[in-house]
Amino acid sequence: MSADPFSNRKPETGAFFQRDRLWHPPAFTPDYKTSVLRSPQKALLSLDNTLSEITGPVFGHNMLGELDNDLIHNFAKPGESAIGPRIIVYGRVLDERGKGVPGALLEFWQANAGGRYRHKKEGYLAALDPNFGGCGRTITNEEGNYAFRTIQPGPYPWPNGVNDWRPAHIHFSVFGHGFAQRLITQMYFEGDPMIWQCPIVKTIPDRAAVESLIAALDREATIPMDARAYKFDIVLRGRRSSLFENRLEGN
């Protein structure tokens, strides 16, 4: 390959940094009861990435519809909009080296302002909003930035303990450049006392790791008389430089 190895615009082919499994939630977290029968019990097989994990599919901006990043309108009848506090969520997808990740596919889903999901297996008595579907997506730009509009979701009860509630949150699925970077996480809202009471949040052992999932209210990015803004940055695994590839002898 003759490409300039110092340009971050060229495809990168290095393996991803090892995942810090003490920072992520472990598989077995008995206070989140569903994990008990769904957690692998044997040790994971640790392997350096092969081409199968270093590579990943590309998602082009041309697949996006005009309203994909507008949950206030993408399911609403013409001229109507979803009910609830209007917000903008924006931020940057970076990797562990601090580099912006361009072309990352972000998909997000959430409950409506009353805490109700549009799903046939959802039985919470809060009302559905006929103008709110609850899904959206976008792709980061050259610098790794993204933004979307939505309504602030409500907290909701869930069957775990007899009286467990989820803090308001937005689910995020993130697709970076390699299949090894695949990540699903959740965004929480600054100042919500329920974050620290949630069994799913508490699967994360490290307080700083939880804090990095709490979006900050950003008064400077609000649109006056329209929507407040929350900033939520997402970090994906970094990757090693392939400047000095490890050459195995005798193969």
């Binding site: 598989a27 392997l47 519809g65 970076l94 998909e107 799913i200 970090v235």
Partner: protein, 205 residues
């Protein structure tokens, strides 16, 4: 003291939860009209090169019950062993094959079906060829961080025997957990066991 490396920490994973379909396969869960189709639902077209295969996958919990709310993504090379990715430097993959698929498991049976092609062989780091395989990523309610594994092919006995990843599995009795079975109709059946005696080998990769 030394200079700071200024590395960031990867965002912590959180479970995909029971309503992952809303975000990743909205048409599958009857949220219509937002996206024209669910991403990754169709992997091949009439121009895709390679042998057509069907994979029927399930994810089973510690009691052997199939998960009815799981979501599986697969990633694979094309028929010539090339990935359709900018990080693929060995050549250009089949433009009619993205190599990536996504399916939710059926809400009644727990099964999901991928219509794809059999991948070619891809080299390991040392240049030796890995056996044909498909990478799997599994998320669901109760799974705190996405699980990574691979599916290999039962008819590739010789290639599997020299596969450098399968060779790393210390307990050889666990190797078959990564090898699909062939059903009478020719489909590959791949059961992913989260726990128990038949627990699938999952990777930290």
């Amino acid at each position: 003291m030394a200079q700071a490396l200024n590395r960031l920490k990867e965002s912590a994973s959180q479970t995909a939860g029971p309503y992952v379909h809303i975000g990743l396969t909205p048409n599958f869960c009857d949220i219509k009209g937002v996206y024209p189709a669910d991403l990754g639902a169709t992997m091949v077209n009439e121009k895709t090169k390679g042998e057509r295969i069907t994979i029927r996958a399930r994810v089973l919990d510690g009691t052997g019950t199939p998960l009815k709310d799981a979501l599986i993504e697969i990633w694979q090379a094309d028929a010539d062993g090339l990935y359709n990715s900018p990080s693929e430097m060995r050549g250009t993959a089949d433009p009619h094959f993205a190599g990536w698929g996504r399916k939710a498991t059926d809400m009644d049976t727990g099964e999901c079906v991928f219509e794809t092609i059999k991948p070619g062989r891809v080299p390991f780091k040392n240049g030796r060829k890995m056996a044909p395989h498909i990478s799997f990523w599994i998320v669901a309610r109760g799974i705190n961080i996405g699980l990574q594994t691979r599916m290999y092919f039962p008819e590739e006995e010789a290639a599997n025997a020299e596969d450098p990843v399968l060779a790393r599995i210390e307990h050889k009795v666990r190797v078959p957990t990564l090898i699909a079975q062939r059903a009478a109709d020719g489909a590959y059946v791949f059961d992913i066991h989260l726990q128990g005696e038949k627990e699938t080998v999952f990777f930290d990769i």
